[in-house]
Amino acid sequence: MLSKNKTGWLLLSPTIIILVLAGLVPFFYVLYVGFFQWNPLAVDPSLQFDGFASNYRRLIFDEIFLESIWRSIKFSVVTLSIELTLGFLLALSLLSSFPLKSFFRSVHTLPLVIAPIVVGSIFKLFTVQGLGPLPHILKDYFGYTLNYGLNAEQAFWMIVIMDVWHWTPFVTLTLLAGLSALPQDPYESAKIDGANNFQIFTYITIPMMVPVLIVVIFIRLMDSLKIVDEVWMLTGGGPGYATRFTGIHIWKEVFEKRYYGLGSAMSILYLYITIVICWVLYSVMVARGKNED
């Protein structure tokens, strides 16, 4: 038994070592740095202890940081809602047969294999004023001026569209896998009982899909809360603060302005907020699932 345990630990040890080195050590280091004032551009570039949690106190009153969090949450809610709706519809469509279905599925999946920074570049090339085709088309055929360098609303929604384009296929594929694995008995019973399609969808499909939905929502929620690359490429966080999501804000504070201490505190606080949001969401969904059972 002891020998079996030893073998187990031996086999697990590389993973544990990597997790500790790549996950826990940096986390605790960031946690530690977050308690100090530290900017290597300062007259005194060393770590300065400025009272326990002074960075955190400062962040509570930092409007720009708080606005970036609100912007990130708003962005996540909007993109998640659209991606879930679209993804579910597409997954349901892909369950049925139609001509060129395989071709459609392959093409639809393509955005998933593209790196976020490339997605940002593609959208930039398509949408940049004066040179990209989209502003021309919108102006010439619909009389609509697209200039997200000037218009904060457009910039925000352009990022939403980009994220939806990039990640809806992931939602579709995951939900499709879930839908394909659902047992057929409840559907047959419902049909015998005279339920219509909407009732079947609402009372059978959705409840049975809750575990899959939880997984999709969590993965996409966490991903969208930490969006950086695509935004960096497309708008750089502008115009003004319009697309300065928390990830971008932290990057600018840490790597442009070199506020290592404050930036670390921001990271920890944002991680905490992300965990709280996920936990609340998880609790609500699990509770609802239990009630419906």
């Binding site: 551009l41 570039p45 930039k124 004023q129 000037l150 502008g238 115009p239 003004g240 302005k257 070199r258």
Partner: protein, 474 residues
């Protein structure tokens, strides 16, 4: 590309000529380091491409030392270089030091003292290479004692470019005079600049041409716009050193600074009011896009970095305005030129950079050889032609450079004769943090979310907070 190939061929001839002279020395000096791979990171500019694609190959042929130069975007270059030097990881053997960041690097002791390094190891001193051959631009890379920490590889000024073909059109001249009551000519004052911009925007539209009155480097999410304002527009209005009081490190007027003063507000108003006359891509344009827009013939005039001026004026493969480019000093407010000439101010940015060796480099001696190779007189002319940069005094007189100078409407002559009117960035060790504090306000002013007055009031407060935070105001 053709130009780079030409430069390559020309360089081969130059190096052949060098063979009788210093080539043998480099071969001998490089022998102990044969097989070494030097890693470098720099901004992807025309001069950087020449270094990576031409000089590095020649150096490898001579010495057997391979130079892998990673020419990347401006943001990535800083990100990679600084992270490497902070972590002391030794990934890079040489890094690009932009003139405005050198005070930060020196303050943080990132760089090897090249003067000292060569003095303590005379066997590494290449014959025929002298730091005295450089223009005064090398002074930016010296410490208080005069020791050199970076070997300049590019230096250029930001000039006023205009389309001669448009300004010389008879119908344009007549229409301009009818509308404004004076003759059409390249701008020497801000009012004239604005009139030109407005006029050509309408004129081009009437003629069915895809062109506008002026460039604006106005990206609303990239520091390029802050740089255009602080380093080009503001100084030409007489606002120097970002409006920071250099004794007290305060920038708001109420504390003795100038960043939200009359000159600054006039400058930002002038600049943001040019936007209706700029190509639609202006709000997503950094220095690269401004160069490309002008080269595509999409602007009648503009402030353009000199590294782009030469190719815009001469490279028909990349530029649609070859033969039609005029080069002048940018317009200035009354008194600014006099102040600049007396050394009490400047009219714009003397930009450029150097290659330096981080302390963390694992191949310092081989890199010393590479940096001296870069500093040799023999290939400066070809480099100047390929990249519009000049770092050596003698390069101006080179026949090849003079020929290009003629094609480029005297850009090199202008740089030689008026370079002293320009200046590098102010000596702020907190450069990145300070600029980062100002950025969002400039973006907001450009996007129309704030008035120029509001933006500058906010910017000076943010900058003062940073300078106080970092301990400079004490």
């Amino acid at each position: 590309m053709k130009k780079l190939l030409f430069a390559l061929v020309a360089s081969i001839f130059s190096f052949s000529a060098m063979a009788g002279g210093h080539a043998d020395w480099f071969k001998e000096a490089g022998a102990p380091y044969k097989g070494t791979v030097l890693q470098g990171v720099a901004e992807n500019t025309p001069p950087g491409q020449f270094a990576g694609e031409v000089l590095a190959k020649e150096f490898e042929k001579l010495t057997g030392i391979k130079v892998q130069l990673e020419n990347t975007s401006w943001d990535q270059m800083y990100d990679k270089a600084i992270k490497d030097m902070e972590a002391n990881s030794g990934i890079y053997d040489f890094v690009y030091i932009e003139q405005d960041i050198v005070y930060d690097y020196l303050n943080r002791d990132f760089l090897v003292n090249i003067t000292e390094g060569l003095a303590s190891n005379p066997s590494l001193q290449a014959p025929g290479v002298s730091l005295d051959d450089f223009t005064t631009f090398i002074d930016y890379f010296k410490d208080d004692t005069g020791d050199v920490f970076g070997v300049p590889m590019e230096a250029f000024i930001k000039v006023y470019l205009y389309r001669k073909d448009l300004f010389e059109r008879a119908d344009a001249k007549a229409a301009f005079r009818a509308q404004y009551g004076y003759g059409l000519s390249p701008a020497t004052s801000f009012d004239q600049y604005r009139d030109n911009a407005e006029f050509f925007t309408h004129f081009c539209a009437e003629q069915g041409m895809e062109c506008w009155g002026t460039t604006v480097q106005g990206h609303t999410g990239h520091p390029a716009s802050t740089y255009e304002f602080l380093e080009s527009i503001a100084p030409s209005f007489g606002l120097y050193n970002w409006g920071v009081n250099m004794d007290t490190y305060q920038s708001c007027v109420e504390n003795g600074g100038q960043l939200n003063g009359g000159r600054a507000k006039a400058a930002l108003n002038f600049w943001t009011q040019l936007l209706p006359f700029a190509p639609p891509e202006a709000l997503q344009s950094t220095w690269s896009e401004v160069g490309s827009s002008f080269a595509a013939g999409r602007a009648a005039q503009g402030w353009v970095y000199g590294e782009n001026a030469a190719w815009i004026a001469t490279d028909a493969e990349k530029s649609a305005v070859v033969g039609n480019v005029g080069v002048m000093l940018p317009p200035t407010a009354p008194g600014v030129m006099t102040q600049a000439a007396a050394g009490n101010g400047y009219i714009g940015y003397y930009d450029g950079g150097a290659y330096g060796i981080p302390h963390s480099s694992k191949n310092k001696e081989a890199t010393m050889l590479w940096l001296q190779f870069v500093a040799m007189n023999e290939h400066q002319a070809d480099w100047a032609i390929a990249g519009g940069r000049i770092t050596h005094k003698d390069t101006y007189a080179d026949p090849k450079v003079m020929a290009v100078d003629e094609q480029a409407d005297g850009y090199f002559t202008l740089m030689r004769d008026t370079g002293f009117l320009y200046a590098g960035a102010p000596p702020f060790p907190f450069h990145g943090a300070g600029r980062g504090a100002i950025d969002p306000f400039i973006y907001s002013a450009l996007a129309g979310e704030m008035t120029p007055e509001e933006a500058l009031d906010g910017a000076c407060q943010a900058l003062d907070t940073v300078m106080a935070d970092l301990g400079y105001q004490n």
